[in-house]
């Protein structure tokens, strides 16, 4: 499709970026003066962006389908002869979907944070970072070229670093923030090399220019670009092999986890893949790699989620798994792009709902995260229970909730990709659906049902104890305030309805078709791979009930089977990174230090010591006796005379 210049109300689309940037600037530069009203400004700026996003969405809808790609040129960023990098905003069906998700779900999370962070002395700084996060993500999805996308990409990485390490007095949080940043750097290197390759091959980094160029270039360039972009997406979206940062990123405040998982950060990789669909179209091998990464990650994340007793880490494993579904969908070509985005949007609702629900439970339980210390909370936290439960039904794909509509088309599309590939990818997706049902049911049962297992006497230095004030840790579970429950209710409504709204009548498919291509053979809501998955989901729920519902849950984790222990250790992802990457790196640095101190420094220091020592000896000649000076003068004169004689004769 062709990209037209933005007209009318879309000429103001820079406002989308300006609102959160303004909010972040005021909150971060204004300092403590803005403490009183800072959080309100943060929410307001995000909401303003959302309102403009809705207006832009309906404006786009009013255009004919072929004219919905609108570009606003902002300014020339790097105008060099032969290289034009312009900052521009591209509003098209794909980016407007992300804008609505980021600003909509993001605003709900910001409203929730007003209550969640009410007791934190640094709430203003927190909202400043959140606005920065939203601004960076909007730049990422709105930019009309890869360089602007990369700027947003790095901005997202920075904001996530700041937010994961928000409670930097906890060493674990500081380490987790560094880990997230470094793991992301690996992916960022892939993306930056891809952009350089684009410039070298096509002489431009604009989407239109690159996509036009890649069509006429060979499949080798397409494969290289596809794999490099995939590396970038793996880093940002926590896919194998760069998945390890996501579980540690739970150290940040819970709204941050919700924002990272639902709206801003991990969805960036899926966006990159779907946006780059003309590049993937050039190379079947690159698409295959994307699909394999997605399929492996969806099983990997789901297995980790089964083993975790920490409610947030279990949800983090679940996010890896769900993003795996989206990557799998993106790897299937036009058959999967629209469904990947549909699942992403629905996931934004139910995963934000789940995280905010988990945050609400933690808020009531004095920041306890161990599900073995919960139990029987459904009576005490009714609103949290209902909203969490609806999101739960959505994620495991029970009809007619969101997940059923958006996950089943991906399973179908994987299955229908044909041959052994179809068997493997489809099989992985079906099994993943079953495991999802198992761990989510386990989470529901351990948190909301069964006996109450928390300490009533109080443990000194418990999970919620601040290091500065170690006070006895006694949870007093209570329902959260309305400012926290209302966003959860809205997200629950989204979890129920979003999937059906997007998929029935092929609404999203038709909307996105100008950008990503139409789904070749749309099929009905019911298909037999989806049916198998549904049967497996029900079976897995039963298994989870026999293990965690029928028998009491021990308050201390049993040793568990080999697989459980592996899942608790993140399937040894960290151990792998340590032994394969960290240890050799440490050896290399130690070797370099040894070479530097003994080799390079040795030569320099040795030279200096030699000069110093010999001059120390030489200076003894200056003994203060005039007669010895006279003797040396005489010897010198005699030698001079002899020298002259020798030369003369």
């Amino acid at each position: 499709m062709t990209t037209l210049a933005a007209t009318g109300v879309l000429r103001a689309s820079w406002l989308l970026l300006a609102f959160p940037v303004f909010g972040a600037a005021v909150l971060l530069l204004g300092g403590r003066r803005t403490d009183k009203w800072g959080h309100l400004l943060g929410v307001l700026m995000s909401l303003a962006s959302f309102v403009y996003g809705v207006i832009a969405f309906f404006t786009l809808l009013s255009y004919p389908a072929s004219e919905r790609s609108r570009d606003l040129h902002m300014y020339s960023w790097i105008p060099v002869n032969g290289f034009q990098a312009n900052m521009g905003i591209l509003l098209d069906p794909l980016s407007i979907c992300f804008v609505l998700l980021i600003t909509g779900v993001g605003s709900l999370i910001l409203i929730y944070s007003v209550g969640y962070m009410a007791h934190d002395t640094d709430r203003r700084r927190f909202f400043g970072y959140l606005n920065l996060f939203i601004a960076a993500m909007l730049l990422l999805v709105l930019s009309d070229n890869y360089l602007g996308l990369y700027a947003g990409w790095e901005g997202v990485g920075l904001a996530s670093y700041l937010l994961i390490g928000f409670w930097q007095f906890k060493p674990t949080a500081a380490v987790a923030a560094k880990k997230a940043f470094i793991a992301n750097r690996v992916g960022d290197a892939g993306l930056s090399v891809a952009i350089m390759l684009m410039f070298a091959e096509f002489g431009t980094v604009n989407f239109t220019g690159v996509f036009a160029g890649v069509k006429s270039s060979g499949s080798g360039v397409g494969l290289a670009l596809g794999l490099l972009l995939l590396l970038g997406a793996c880093g940002k979206s926590a896919q194998i092999p760069l998945q390890s940062w996501l579980l540690d990123a739970m150290e940040g405040p819970t709204p941050v986890s919700a924002l990272i998982h639902a709206a801003t950060m991990v969805t960036a990789g899926v966006y990159l893949m779907v946006r780059s669909n003309p590049i993937l179209a050039q190379s079947a091998d690159a698409r295959m790699a994307v699909a394999i990464v997605g399929a492996v990650t969806l099983l990997f994340g789901a297995i980790i989620a089964c083993g975790k007793d920490d409610i947030k880490k279990s949800l983090a494993g679940s996010t890896m798994s769900q993003i795996g579904y989206m990557m799998l969908g993106a790897g299937l070509g036009p058959a999967g792009y629209a469904f990947a985005i549909a699942h992403l949007l629905a996931h934004g609702f139910f995963k934000a709902g789940l995280f905010l629900g988990a945050g609400s439970v933690m808020h009531g339980m004095d920041d306890e995260v161990d599900m073995r210390r919960y139990g029987g909370l459904w009576r005490i936290l009714p609103i949290t229970f209902v909203t969490f439960g609806l999101a739960y039904l959505a994620i495991i794909g029970i009809p007619p909730f969101s997940g059923f509509f958006t996950k089943d088309p991906i399973i179908d599309a994987a299955w229908e990709s044909g041959g052994t590939q179809g068997w493997l990818l489809g099989g992985a997706a079906i099994i993943g659906a079953g495991i999802t049902a198992f761990y989510m049911t386990r989470m529901m049962l351990m948190t909301y049902f069964g006996a109450r297992r928390w300490e009533t006497e109080g443990v000194l230095g418990g999970a919620g104890a601040h290091p500065a004030t170690p006070e006895p840790h006694v949870p007093h579970p209570h329902e959260s305030s309305p400012v926290m429950t209302w966003p959860m209710i809205v997200l629950a409504i989204g979890s129920v309805g979003a999937g059906g709204f997007l998929i029935i009548n092929n609404r999203l498919d038709g909307f996105l078709a100008p950008v990503v291509g139409a789904v070749p053979a749309p099929h009905g809501l019911w298909s037999w791979p989806g049916g198998i998955a549904l049967v497996l989901v029900v079976l897995a729920m039963g298994v989870a009930w026999t293990m965690y519902g029928r028998v009491p849950v021990p308050a201390v984790a049993p040793r568990g089977s080999v697989l459980t222990r592996a899942a608790r250790a993140d399937l040894y992802g960290d151990a792998f990174n340590e032994s394969v990457l960290m240890r050799p790196g440490q050896w290399l640095t130690r070797l370099s230090v040894y070479f530097d101190s003994r080799g390079v420094d040795g030569v320099v220091n040795g030279l200096a010591a030699t000069v110093g020592g010999s001059s120390g000896r030489l200076r003894k000649v200056q003994n203060g006796f005039v007669r010895s000076y006279a003797l040396s003068m005489l010897i010198g004169a005699v030698l001079l005379v002899f020298g002259l004689l020798v030369v003369r004769l």
Binding site: R619, Q622, G624, F625, V626, R627, A630, L631, L634
Partner: protein
């Protein structure tokens, strides 16, 4: 009488002066030995001047005498100062400037 004899005499005087500078400790005697060496040079200059039949050597000898006179003035003054400071005219006692 051949000029060579003067040159030999000059060499002998120079050697005596040099040995005196090297082995004596009394500054006055070292000073006198230096004068001896200077005058040995003067003798050699005059002898060579005679040998070559021009006046250059003799002019240089005059210069040397003037310089030696100036040197005596400055040197004796220094000697007096050193003696007042050290109560000794031995050069070995004035050995503060060293490593």
């Amino acid at each position: 009488m051949s000029p060579a004899a003067y040159v030999f005499l000059a060499v002998i005087l120079f050697a005596i002066g040099g040995v005196g500078v090297l082995i004596r400790r009394n500054a006055i005697l070292i000073f006198m030995s230096v004068e001896l060496m200077l005058n040995a040079c003067n003798l050699a200059f005059v002898a060579f001047s005679r040998m070559w039949g021009n006046l250059d050597g003799q002019v240089v000898a005059f210069f040397v005498m003037v310089v030696a006179a100036a040197e005596v003035v400055v040197g004796l003054a220094i000697l007096m100062a050193v003696y007042r400071a050290h109560k000794s005219a031995s050069v070995d006692d004035a050995n503060l400037l060293k490593y």
